[in-house]
């Protein structure tokens, strides 16, 4: 009986639903004018975009839906002020503050209790919501796709466009679904999932696509784990990564400051429940990965695609340039390679659950004497909550520095950095040349792997601690 089939709508993907619900109008050619629900700025580029708009006498169309935060170059040492270690950095903070105030947008300033890394505080405050479009001049905005939002990074010009018009002019990307089936083994984390995808399919593997993450191993993740997974979609060259919202998403958001309240909340949840790919929805590309086969990952080169399981060896086809920079040889095992520093933080891995898991492994232990180790909570809220649980004491007693929240040493802006040429195991997302300081050799990994390595003083397999 196919009689009624004619009247059934075509099954659509989550991405189709997010996209179609925001198309204001088609543009000549294949493009569309797409409505933008939220814009989030930060002090590294916020003043530039806001000042440029003001000079052109273009007001922010709806200031109530534009937010800004000081996270990128703000000092993370205790007792901080507007002063930063980055030469000239203070001007970025004061100019962003002045421009934000003049534009009438909401700023989470240096010592605001809600301050933190943009992709940590936006969910904490319920600014990102399922089914919304959210853009920020920061490539890791895709992190917020974990909430079933279409969230992506843009440049300054597009940030101006989004603020002035409430829209962006876009071409619809192709759709991809990456399905992680099975169950993660002990000691294996969402960071290892996304690093595995990028290592297998390349740093350009997602080019031209918007990527939905799905499958049992994704559904099993808590919201913070989902954010870690979506965070590195940009390292896959995807426009964004996102996950269909579910009961965990709604539970996380309920009662948050900017989340809907009362009857709006119930109406919103009913509509959000529709935000899933229909059975039979078509994708331009589909990838399946067996989550149970994933092991703790660590990068060896200068692109996130240069990564492997912790017990592996540097591949024979590794690029000479990367190897020279990283001072590694083909066939060399990474496990056992001595490190100089360990870093836990960044929009990838700085949330309370990350710090809880790391501290559980650190408790009662001391890191190797020669390792400089730093933990930077992702937000002031995360810091307070961690301190209330005694997590700061565990980190400190183990030999870690415990900082104020911010992007900190995820990238080097001319201020604080690791020692020139030193080798760092880091929970961040980029192992580019000199990303964390002049000549610094970054190995990206999960918080668990960073802790295991800090304790051993060399790159180590966390599974040996379990």
């Amino acid at each position: 009986m196919r009689k009624w089939g004619l009247f059934l709508p075509e099954p659509s993907s989550l991405f189709d639903k997010l996209w179609n619900s925001h198309v204001v109008t088609a543009l000549p050619g294949s493009g569309a004018l797409v409505a933008i629900d939220r814009v989030f700025l930060h002090e590294r580029t916020g003043a530039s975009a806001l000042n440029s708009l003001a000079q052109a006498e273009r007001p922010v169309a709806d200031p109530a839906r534009v937010f800004a935060v000081t996270d990128h170059i703000v000092d993370t040492r205790p007792g901080r002020t507007d002063k930063t270690l980055m030469p000239g950095g203070q001007a970025f903070i004061t100019e962003t503050r002045a421009a934000a105030n003049a534009a009438g947008i909401t700023l989470f300033d240096v010592n605001d209790p809600d301050q933190g890394i943009v992709h940590v505080i936006s969910p904490e405050l319920g600014i990102v919501l399922p089914g919304c479009t959210l853009v920020a001049p920061d490539s890791h905005t895709c992190t917020q796709g974990a909430f079933g939002a279409l969230a992506w990074g843009i440049g300054s010009s597009e940030a101006e466009h989004a603020m002035a018009t409430g829209t962006l002019r876009l071409n619809k990307p192709k759709s991809m679904r990456v399905c992680f089936f099975g169950t993660l083994a002990k000691g294996v984390t969402p960071k290892d999932m996304i690093m595995t995808l990028i290592a297998q399919y390349g740093a350009a593997g997602g080019k031209g696509h918007a990527v939905e993450f799905a499958g049992a191993a994704v559904s099993a993740l808590d919201m913070e784990g989902r954010m870690t997974l979506c965070n590195m979609a940009t390292e896959f060259s995807a426009m964004s990564g996102f996950i269909a919202p579910d009961a965990k998403t709604f539970e996380y958001l309920e009662g948050r400051r900017y989340a809907p309240k009362g009857s709006n909340w119930h109406q919103a949840v009913e509509s959000w429940k529709q935000l899933a790919s229909d059975t039979g929805a078509a994708f331009d590309t589909e990838i399946g990965i067996d989550a149970s086969a994933i092991t703790p990952m660590v990068s060896w080169g200068t692109s996130p695609e240069n990564a492997m399981g912790i017990s592996g060896a540097v591949p024979d086809d590794a690029g000479e340039r990367s190897l020279e920079y990283m001072a590694l040889d083909k066939g060399q095992k990474l496990a056992g390679t001595s490190i100089d520093a360990a870093f836990i933080g960044s929009c990838t891995n700085s949330r309370l659950s990350d710090l809880r898991r790391a501290s559980a492994l650190l408790k009662g232990k001391k890191i190797a004497n020669h390792v400089k180790a730093i933990c930077v909570p992702g937000s002031s809220r995360v810091k307070r909550e961690a301190e209330a649980e005694g997590i700061d004491a565990i980190f400190r007693e183990a030999g870690f520095e415990w900082r104020e929240s911010g992007c900190s040493m995820c990238f080097y802006a001319g201020g604080e950095s690791f020692e020139t040429g030193s080798r760092v195991v880091s929970t961040t997302n980029r192992n580019f040349e000199s990303r964390q300081g002049p000549g610094v050799k970054t190995h990206i990994a999960s918080p668990e792997t960073v802790v295991a390595s800090a304790l051993a003083g060399a790159i180590a397999d966390v599974r040996e601690l379990l």
Binding site: S52, A64, S157, G166, A204, T234
Partner: protein
């Protein structure tokens, strides 16, 4: 508003490495003010100088090769412009004098930033780029024809979406274009506000 892009003839500068990230195009430490200019000294700073933070030219780096001093085109590798969304990477390239980048693929944010600043991101396969590198002679990019030629008989076409092409050729400002659609946007928002009141924070909190 960027200068209109029509036909460009220039000796291309080869920088054929995969995954050239925007930290390499302009390191964060070189973004010293909130302005959009004064960035040329920071362009490829990590590769261009003998030491980090220094200004002594590393003569092994192609940008310092006098042969390419007037190049307005870069030949690049896969996933060009990956990493940070910093538009400074494109501002620095434009200020230095580059008008086109030819690569097998581009990172999406970088590609959009290029178009907004009058730089053409032309996608061409690696084999063709290798031929252009080997020829080491001027190439001509005709954007309206979407064609790149090195000499008689050697030419390639490249894809570009209609709007990006129009923006580059006419030097249009995207915000101006969209502001002209203010009525469409207002109508859409009114209907959307009824469906999703929680999105509109001013009125419903």
């Amino acid at each position: 508003m960027a200068e209109p892009f029509t036909i460009l003839t220039s000796l291309p500068m080869p920088l054929i490495r995969d995954n050239i990230d925007t930290d390499q195009i302009i390191p964060s430490r070189e973004m010293k003010s909130t302005g959009k200019t004064g960035l040329t000294d920071g362009l490829f700073a990590g590769w261009r100088y003998t030491e980090i933070g220094g200004r002594e030219a590393d003569t092994n780096f192609v940008l310092n090769d006098p042969h390419y001093a007037d190049s307005q085109i870069i030949l690049g590798g896969t996933n060009f412009g990956c990493g940070s969304s910093r538009e400074h990477a494109v501002w620095a390239l434009a200020e230095y004098g580059f008008r086109a980048i030819i690569a097998p693929s581009f990172a999406p944010i970088f590609s959009g930033n290029c178009v907004r600043n009058g730089i053409l991101p032309a996608v061409i396969d690696a084999d063709a780029i290798a031929i252009m590198e080997k020829a080491d002679s001027p190439i001509t990019i005709d954007l309206s024809m979407q064609k790149i030629g090195i000499h008689e008989g050697h030419s390639w076409t490249f894809p570009i979406d209609e709007e990006a092409k129009a923006m580059l050729i006419e030097g249009l400002d995207a915000i101006d274009l969209s502001l002209k659609m203010a009525d469409d946007i207002a109508t859409w928002q009114e209907a959307d506000r009824a469906k999703r009141p929680w999105i509109y924070l001013g009125a419903n909190q």
